[in-house]
Amino acid sequence: MAMLEIKDIEVYYGVIQAIKGISFTVNEGEVIALIGANGAGKTTTLQTITGMIAPAAGEILFEGTDIAKIPGHKIVSMGMAHVPEGRRVFAELSVYENLKLGAYTRKDKNEVAETLERVYRSFPRLKERKNQLAGTLSGGEQQMLAMGRALMSKPKIVLMDEPSMGLSPILVEEIFNIIREISAGGTTVLLVEQNAKKALAIADRAYVLETGKIVLSGDAKEMLNNDSIKKAYLGE
């Protein structure tokens, strides 16, 4: 059984249909890339999965439960975290307070402290700056904080929306290394990226989204060699 199964979801903004019936699956342990041009509906898809937007139709089965019918704030404690587009860190709160909010639904203080140490080990920069206000971090540091904050919930699956957006090539490399580490640690990853080349390189499988529909899916490495993908998304 797939860990996450999206079945025929449709999403509207007012009268405009942004998602026109898409279905896909994410299996445990996989890295899945969701790629597509600006406005294709990638962010909308992720937001629908984590309950920020309600779908007009369709099912979202997470470990067999239809989470489309569950209030958004209950989804994180089921084991699903979301690193939103544009980071969305709490600017007025410190790095440490942001991370603590990531563990908001967890009760066991010792376990949370353990996860915090692990996050600090993955992102030493966050530990150095734990008392700094998140709003004063650099863009790259904010991205690390957004990822660390998501990991604080100890998720089974992490949804990431363009984590490399606006970062320098060195930082992009660092972020992708961290995604690899997260995956190696046993966490399933659903990755939305503009940087299709890098995303396909670390993904197991990929889906291509075009104006609210999935137009292509398959093995990520094969897609790297697919001519139409190369032309449209890899700039070759």
Partner: protein, 293 residues
């Protein structure tokens, strides 16, 4: 000694404004709306205390506790019925609704309690403090008011900084969607904020009516507007801003009344607000909105 007396009276009145301003500022911070009915919650709280003490013969403290509970429930109910359905409406629609709620509460009080002025018997039973061989007297009400303000400010700051619910409040006030992604129940958090603000309004109302002991259905509106001014003055959304704005406003009002003109004191208060907003549009402690791309 006159100067000192005025200063102390100003700080006392300002403490009341500060406690009321907290309600405005917290609700604004979290729901991005001006709850114009906040002042009328004060008035309802005063009526509860008045009725509990004069009609039911309850002692002061239980009466105040009853008022806090009543106002807390009132705040939660108003939010649920009037504001929650407008979560995604335009700010203007919310503002008009808040004004409507304010009129509703005033007219409900008119119907329930009548239009006649009730004389509010002081709730505070603390002896006055005589200083400098009796040249300076600080009334028991003043002592309790300032102490209540300090305790509330410290308590609220600790609550926001140290507790999970407080941190959730800050998260929701910055970014509701991101807060929800953390697992925060946004609606419950907004409800809690209204509950705290309204409970504090009951305390502020009792302290206000102890100092100015006349009670009508319109008693809440003037201190409400002043406290709103104080919140804007200090920087709306900021808890220390509410304290500083409230105290300054109280002191300016009393000094204006004493040294310039008792008729003009309100005008002076608002004139100072306008000057502050012209010089610093975010208020004294208001934060610049900074966003990183």
């Amino acid at each position: 000694m006159n100067f000192l007396t005025y200063l102390i009276n100003g700080i006392s009145l300002g403490s009341v404004y500060a406690i009321i301003a907290l309600g405005y500022t917290m609700v604004y911070g979290i729901a991005k709306m001006l709850n114009f009915a906040h002042g009328d919650v004060i008035m309802i709280g005063c009526y509860v205390v008045f009725l509990a003490m004069s009609r039911s013969g309850l002692p002061a403290l239980p009466s105040v506790a009853l008022a806090v509970v009543a106002c807390t429930l009132l705040g939660i109910t108003v939010e649920k019925i009037a504001y929650k359905p407008l979560r995604r409406a335009t700010p203007l629609a919310v503002l008009i609704t808040a004004i409507g709620v304010s009129y509703f509460l005033q007219n409900m009080a008119l119907l329930l309690f009548g239009a006649d002025t009730k004389s509010f018997s002081p709730v505070v039973n603390v002896p006055a403090l005589k200083l400098a061989d009796g040249a300076l007297t600080i009334s028991g009400t003043t002592i309790v008011t300032v102490a209540a303000c300090i305790v509330i400010m410290i308590g609220l700051s600790l609550f926001v900084k140290r507790t999970k619910a407080g941190q959730a409040m800050l998260a929701v006030s910055e970014d509701k969607d991101a807060a929800q992604l953390m697992g925060v129940n946004v609606n419950a958090t907004i409800s809690l904020t209204f509950a705290i603000g309204s409970g504090l309004a009951a305390i502020a109302g009792v302290l206000f009516c102890s100092a100015y002991p006349t009670l009508t259905p319109y008693t809440g509106s003037m201190p409400g507007i002043k406290a709103f001014t104080a919140a804007v003055f200090g920087g709306i959304g900021s808890i220390p801003g509410a304290l500083i704005g409230g105290i300054l406003l109280g002191v300016i009002e009393i000094f204006g009344r004493a040294y310039i003109s008792s008729q003009l004191s309100d005008a002076i208060v608002f004139a100072v607000l306008i000057v502050v907003l012209l010089v610093k549009p975010t208020g004294l402690l208001g934060r610049q909105v900074h966003e990183k791309v």
